[in-house]
Amino acid sequence: MSADKGVIYIVEDDPSFRKSMERLLRASGFKVVAFESANSFLTQRGIERPACLLLDVQLPDIDGFDLQQRLMERGSSLPIIFMTGHGNIPMSVRAMKKGAVDFLPKPFEAEDLRGAILKALERDIQNRKREIEVNKIKSLLDTLTPREKEVLRWVITGKLNKQIAAALGTTEKTIKVHRSRVMQKTKVSSVAELVRLAEKADISPAV
C-alpha cells in the first residue's frame, strides 16, 4: 500500500478555499472527499484507508476540536491535520496533545501540506496494520471458552499452575489442561508470546 494512494477527507466551510484544496490535492494524486461542515462528515459511512482528515478549526456547526473529540470517542484512529485562519500557539498545542498530526496556519505552502499529509497517511497505515493485528488476535481469543479466558488472565501474571489452581479453587491438573488449550488456540508457543498477545488485545492480568 502506498501513501500516495490514500484518501484525503476535507472539512472546510469556505467554498473557495475548499475547492482550491480539492484541486491541489487531486493534482497531487490524492483521492479527495470534501465536506462543508462537521455534521455532513459525521454522516459519512465507510472511511476508505489509508486516509487522513484535513480539518478547519472554525466551522459553522461543530468546531474542529469538538469534531476531533467526537471521532476519538467513536474509536476512530483517523489522523487529523488542522487548518486555521488565525491559529495561535495554545490552540495548536491543544490540538497536537490530542493526537493531531499537524497544525497548518492558512495560507500554507503546498509542500508543507504534502509533508503533513504523507506523515498522516503513514501514521494511518501503521494504525491500520495494528488494527488488523488486533482484530486477528481478538478473533483468536474469541475461540476461548470463558473459563479458558479466566485461566489466560492468570497465566499472564506469570504464576505457577499450582498457585492459579489455588486461586481458582481447582486442581493443578485442570489448570494445566486449560493452559495447553489456550496456547493451542492462540497459536503461541511460549508464555512470553501469550503476554504480548494479551497486551495487544488489551487483556489485563488477573492480579
Binding site: F17, S20, R23, L24, A27, G85, K106
Partner: protein, 606 residues
C-alpha cells in the same frame, strides 16, 4: 499725726492709685473709655479729699474760700465723668437728663467762679474751730450763696438719672451691676449731697466730707471695673484650653498651624508645621526663609497667591512642593486667611498646612493608569482588528496559494488541461479580489468613528492636554513652558481628535526626555501666514536620527521598546483630516519639535 490727716490722705492715695492703674489700662487700649472715666473719677475724688483736708486745716477765711472754690472743679469732673460712665459703661440713663445734668453742673461751676466767694458762700466771714473725731477742725462762717441750689439741683437730677439707669440695667437682667454700681452711686451721692446740704446751709455744723462718699462710689466702681481683669483671667484660661484643644485636633489631623505677621515678616508655627517644612523647634522663620523652601517652579505661584490674599483680605489656598534641607521633597497643601488692619494695610495671615504627598502620588498613579488604559485600549483594538483582518484575508490568500500551486502542478503534468487551469486562474483572480475587498471593508469600519467639527480655542485645548500631564511632569522633574499667542484665532476641528494629537505629541516628548536633565517641555502657539494657527511641541530630548526623520509618520515605525508605531501616524491622519499639516524638526541645541498647522476659522459666515 491726726486721724483726719491719715484718713483723708489714705483716701486720696487709694483713689490716686486706682486712677493711675486705670489710666495705664486706657493708655494700652485707647478704646477702653470706661477705664479713662473711672480714672478721672478716682483722681477727682483724690483732689476733692485734698481740698477738704485743706479746708479743715485752713488758717484764714480766704484760704478756706479759695480751697472751696477749687473744690468744685473735681466735683464737676466727678459728676460729668460719672454721667458719661453710666451712659457708656452701663449703657443706660436718659440722654436728655445726662445733658441737663452736665449743663447745670457746668453752669454751677461757672457761678462758682463769678458769683460771690464761691458757689456756696456769698462771703466767708470767719472761721470757727469745732471738734470733729476728737480733733479740732475748721469750718466756715458766712452768708450762704443761694446759687448753691443750681449745683444741688444738678446733684438731685444726677441721683435720679443714675437711679433710672440702674432700673434699666436691673430690668435688662444685670442685677448685680444695677445694685453694685447704680445702687452705690445713688446711695453715696445722695448721702454726700445730704451731708453737704446740711453743712453748707449751716443747718448742722461740720466740715465737708463728700470725698468719703465719693471714695465709696469709686470703690464700688473699682469693683465693677475689676470684673474686666477677672473676666480677662478667665478668658485667658479658656483661651489656653481652647488652644490646647486646637493643637490636639491639628496634631491628630496631621495639620500644622501657622500665623504670619506681615509687618515683621515672622512666621509663628506649631511643632507639626515646623516638621512639615523642615524647620527646627527654635528656629526663627522669616517669610523669605519659608519661600526658599518652596520648589522654584512653585515659588512665584505661591507668593503671588499670598500677595493677592493680602490685597483683598481674602482666603489663601495653594498646593505646592517644598524642598527639604535633606534634599527630599514633598507636596504641601496650605490654606489660610489674610487679615487687614482697619487702614486696609496687610496685618497677618493665619492658616494650616498639611502633607498631601500621598494624595499627589495617587493622583499621578491615576493619571498614569488612565494613560496606560488608553494605550492598552488602543492596542487591544488594533489586536482585535488585526486578528479578524488576518482571518478574513488568510482565507482568500490560502485559496490563492492552493490554486496557484495546483495550477503549477497541473502545468507540469499534462498539456491538455487548459480548461481546468483557466478555471483555476479565474478562481485566483476572484480570491485576490476578495482579499482586496476585506481590506477595503476594514478601512471603512475604522473610518466610521464620530468626528464633530466645531470652532475651537487651540490655547485652551493645549491647557487641557497639559493639565493631564502636570503631575507626572512635576514628579519626573520636567518643567513645562506654555508660550501661547494671546490673540490666537480659533480653528475648526474635532475637540477629542485634536486633543489626541496633543496628548500623543506630549507623550512622545516626555518619553524622549526620560532620564535626561534639564527636561523642558515647551508648547508654543502662534499665528503664521496670517490665517494659520501653528502649534509646536518641543522637548530637550535626544532628537530624531536623520534616517528616522523621513519615517516617523509612517505606520508601525517606532524607536520605543514597547511602541506600536501608530502614535504619529494617527496624528498625521487626524491633522490631514482637518486639512492641516504636521512636521518634525530637530532643535538647534537639543531635542526635537513637532509642529502642526491648521487653517484659522473665519467665523460663521465664512
Amino acid at each position: 499725726m491726726s486721724w483726719i490727716t491719715v484718713i483723708w490722705s489714705m483716701v486720696a492715695a487709694a483713689c490716686l492709685t486706682l486712677a493711675a492703674m486705670h489710666l495705664l489700662v486706657w493708655f494700652k487700649k485707647r478704646t477702653a473709655w470706661a477705664n479713662l472715666l473711672f480714672s478721672v473719677t478716682a483722681a477727682a475724688a483724690a483732689a476733692v479729699a485734698f481740698c477738704e483736708l485743706s479746708m479743715m486745716r485752713a488758717e484764714t477765711p480766704e484760704q478756706f474760700g479759695t480751697m472751696l472754690r477749687w473744690f468744685h472743679v473735681p466735683v464737676w469732673a466727678i459728676i460729668v465723668a460719672l454721667v458719661v460712665f453710666v451712659r457708656l459703661h452701663l449703657r443706660a440713663g436718659r440722654s436728655w437728663l445726662a445733658w441737663t445734668i452736665c449743663t447745670l453742673r457746668t453752669f454751677s461751676l461757672l457761678l462758682n467762679f463769678v458769683v460771690g466767694q464761691d458757689l456756696n458762700y456769698r462771703e466767708v466771714t470767719g472761721l470757727r474751730h469745732i471738734p470733729f473725731f476728737g480733733e479740732s477742725v475748721v469750718v466756715a462762717e458766712g452768708a450762704s450763696n443761694p446759687f448753691m441750689l443750681v449745683g444741688q439741683l444738678s446733684l438731685l437730677l444726677f441721683v435720679i438719672f443714675v437711679a433710672d439707669a440702674a432700673i434699666t440695667v436691673w430690668r435688662r437682667g444685670d442685677r448685680r451691676q444695677a445694685l453694685m454700681t447704680g445702687g452705690s452711686i445713688v446711695f453715696f451721692v445722695l448721702a454726700g449731697t445730704v451731708q453737704a446740704v446740711l453743712v453748707l446751709w449751716q443747718i448742722v455744723p461740720g466740715p465737708i466730707t463728700v470725698s468719703l462718699f465719693f471714695t465709696a462710689v469709686v470703690a464700688a466702681m473699682a469693683y465693677e471695673m475689676s470684673g474686666d481683669p477677672r473676666r480677662a483671667a478667665q478668658l485667658s484660661a479658656d483661651l489656653r484650653e481652647s488652644e490646647a484643644r486646637l493643637a490636639l485636633a491639628a496634631d491628630s489631623a496631621d495639620v500644622g498651624l501657622w500665623s504670619w505677621d506681615f509687618k515683621t515678616g515672622q512666621i509663628w508655627a506649631t511643632e507639626r508645621a515646623r516638621l512639615l517644612y523642615g524647620f527646627s523647634s527654635a528656629e526663627e522663620i522669616a517669610f523669605e526663609k519659608f519661600l526658599s523652601r518652596i520648589h522654584p517652579d512653585d515659588r512665584d505661584r505661591v507668593s503671588r497667591a499670598a500677595r493677592e490674599a493680602f490685597q483683598n483680605g481674602a482666603g489663601f489656598r495653594s498646593e505646592y512642593r517644598i524642598e527639604l534641607p535633606d534634599g527630599s521633597s514633598r507636596w504641601i497643601k496650605a490654606q489660610g486667611q489674610a487679615f487687614l488692619k482697619p487702614s486696609r494695610e496687610p496685618d497677618r495671615m493665619m492658616g494650616v498646612s498639611l502633607n498631601i504627598n500621598e494624595r499627589k502620588e495617587n493622583e499621578d498613579e491615576v493619571v498614569e493608569l488612565r494613560l496606560e488604559l488608553a494605550h492598552l485600549a488602543r492596542i487591544m483594538t488594533m489586536n482585535e482588528v488585526s486578528t479578524s483582518l488576518a482571518h478574513e484575508i488568510n482565507q482568500p490568500l490560502g485559496a490563492i496559494l492552493n490554486n496557484a500551486s495546483a495550477a503549477k502542478l497541473l502545468m507540469s503534468q499534462v498539456k491538455d488541461r487548459q480548461e481546468e487551469i483557466n478555471e483555476i486562474l479565474e478562481d485566483v483572480i476572484q480570491d485576490a479580489k476578495r482579499a482586496g475587498d476585506v481590506v477595503r471593508k476594514i478601512r471603512g469600519v475604522v473610518k466610521k468613528s464620530d468626528v464633530r467639527f466645531e470652532p475651537l480655542d487651540m490655547n485652551s485645548l493645549i491647557g487641557e492636554a497639559a493639565d493631564l500631564f502636570r503631575n507626572s511632569m512635576s514628579m519626573s522633574n520636567v518643567s513645562l513652558r506654555l508660550d501661547l499667542e494671546m490673540n490666537l484665532a480659533k480653528v475648526t476641528g474635532d475637540r477629542v481628535h485634536l486633543q489626541q494629537v496633543l496628548v500623543n505629541l506630549i507623550t512622545n516628548a516626555l518619553e524622549a526626555m526620560k532620564g535626561r536633565s534639564p527636561s523642558v517641555l515647551t508648547i508654543h502657539s502662534a499665528m503664521t501666514a496670517s490665517d494659520r494657527v501653528t502649534v509646536s511641541v518641543s522637548d530637550t530630548g535626544k532628537g530624531i536620527d536623520d534616517a528616522a526623520k523621513e519615517r516617523v509618520f509612517e505606520p508601525f515605525f517606532t524607536t520605543k521598546q514597547d511602541g506600536l508605531g501608530m502614535g504619529l501616524r494617527i496624528c498625521r491622519s487626524i491633522i490631514a483630516e482637518h486639512g492641516g499639516r504636521i512636521w518634525a524638526e530637530n532643535n538647534p541645541i537639543a531635542g526635537a519639535t513637532f509642529s502642526f498647522s491648521l487653517g484659522a476659522w473665519r467665523g460663521e459666515s465664512a
